[in-house]
């Protein structure tokens, strides 16, 4: 069922960027990093899932994780990869909401890292709008379920009929 807000973790965004880098920009060396969108149908299914949400939200911590990923790729492509990130954020109207460390339960930060927990807290902020957290991390999904927040992993979206 579609809600109002989807909260995006680093993994799904990285997968979207990687898919476009490989298919639109010919970044063949990144093909091996595609974990879920090996076929165009998987990309279409996921973007259709995203389009059923009016608002897309993430946190600046996720952008930092994207930075760490991009800096490990071939340096000549960094500018173009950041342009892709910019295009994706602009295109899907991504909102970035800050969650400070002081707002985060430290035991959860120690277990899952600040980026994951920032998304959990973002989802809690938007509870009346039935947020859905999208991730590739089973651990984050489990924390969301414990906090009674809807969460789904990409692999589940792709196997849905």
């Amino acid at each position: 069922m579609s809600g109002q807000i989807v909260v995006l973790d680093t993994g799904p965004i990285r997968e979207l960027i990687t898919y476009r880098a490989v298919h639109d920009l010919g970044f063949a060396s990144l093909r091996a990093q595609l974990q879920f969108f090996s076929a165009p149908s998987a990309y279409s299914k996921f973007t259709k899932f995203l389009s059923s949400y009016r608002r897309k939200v993430t946190s600046p911590s996720v952008v930092v994780e994207l930075y760490h990923w991009i800096r490990k790729t071939d340096r000549t492509g960094h500018n173009r990869l950041w342009s892709l990130v910019h295009d994706e954020f602009k295109g899907m109207g991504m909102e970035e909401d800050l969650v400070t460390l002081l707002e985060m339960p430290l035991d959860l930060v120690a277990r899952c890292g600040p980026a994951d927990i920032s998304l959990l807290i973002l989802a809690q902020r938007h509870l009346p709008s039935q947020p859905m957290v999208v991730t590739i991390e089973a651990e984050l999904a489990a924390e969301c379920f414990r906090a009674r927040i809807n969460a789904i992993q990409i692999q589940e979206i792709l196997t849905q009929v």
């Binding site: 579609s2 639109d24 920009l25 010919g26 063949a28 279409s44 973007t47 259709k48 995203l50 389009s51 059923s52 949400y53 009016r54 897309k56 340096r75 000549t76 500018n79 173009r80 342009s83 910019h86 295009d87 295109g91 899907m92 109207g93």
Partner: protein
């Protein structure tokens, strides 16, 4: 300094290998991508940077610390100096012409009025009674930015937008109409600027295609002449910086 080489590199030359792996290979990949985009008349021009995001000057395709290899390659392969300049000039002209055309579009009341009318029609159609697709987002909050966004997409000849993009449904409904009305939006007096954009874009396409051919041929020539593989052989795991790997 003499530009004439006094000694010719030998077979399996590390110097030539450096040209292939740090200059020619990144350029071949990048220019192939350019030609793919330009085949679709997409110059990836962005209004926030006023440049082509995925088509760059030659120097930007080469890692900064490999610039000496680029200079060395050009010193021995002088025919590419002109070809690279031609490419960068064609790109600059295209970006300038795109900026000019963009300013004409967003300054045209005919254009902004048409986009406004389409937005009104779109907003009235996305209610629960006549949805284009379920959960289609309202574009009301981007009312002021929409003409800029539309102009950028027109310049890049965008036919379809990904389904998760906010203006996907709007573009599905109005994109084709807007594209067909581009010359009209430019206005009678400004029509040369619309034609000018197409002229410089076509020039960039030809230049890019010719450069791609030249680079591919030169790489093949160097591989044959110096008996080198076109791709760097897989090196064993090392902690050395990438810059030294090809010297193994």
């Amino acid at each position: 300094m003499s530009t004439t080489p006094e000694t010719k590199p030998g077979r399996h030359s590390q110097r030539v290998a450096a040209w292939i792996y740090t200059v020619l290979n990144p350029l071949v990949d990048a220019i192939r991508n350019e030609t793919r985009l330009l085949e679709k008349a997409n110059i990836s021009w962005r209004c926030h940077t006023r440049r082509s995001e995925y088509i760059r000057p030659i120097q930007e395709y080469i890692e900064a610390h490999y610039s000496p290899n680029l200079e060395d390659f050009l010193a021995e392969n002088a025919e590419f100096v002109g070809k690279f300049e031609e490419h960068d000039n064609a790109l600059r002209e295209t970006e300038e012409q795109a900026s000019k055309f963009y300013d004409i579009l967003v300054g045209s009341s005919l254009f902004t009025g048409a986009v406004g009318e389409m937005l009104t029609e779109y907003e009235s159609a996305i209610g629960p009674s006549h949805p284009y697709i379920p959960n289609t987002p309202s574009l009301g909050s981007m009312k002021n930015d929409l003409p800029r966004y539309v102009a950028e997409n027109l310049i890049n000849n965008i036919a379809t937008m990904p389904t998760h993009y906010t203006i996907h449904a709007f573009w599905e409904r109005f994109g084709q109409v807007l594209r067909s009305r581009m010359p009209e939006f430019a206005g009678y007096k400004q029509r040369p600027s619309f034609q000018g954009l197409h002229t410089v874009m076509e020039n960039l396409k030809q230049t890019s295609a010719s450069l791609r051919k030249g680079l591919e041929e030169d790489r093949l020539r160097l591989c044959r002449e110096f008996d080198l593989p076109a791709a760097q052989p897989m090196a064993p795991q090392t902690t050395e910086p990438d810059a030294f790997r090809y010297l193994r």
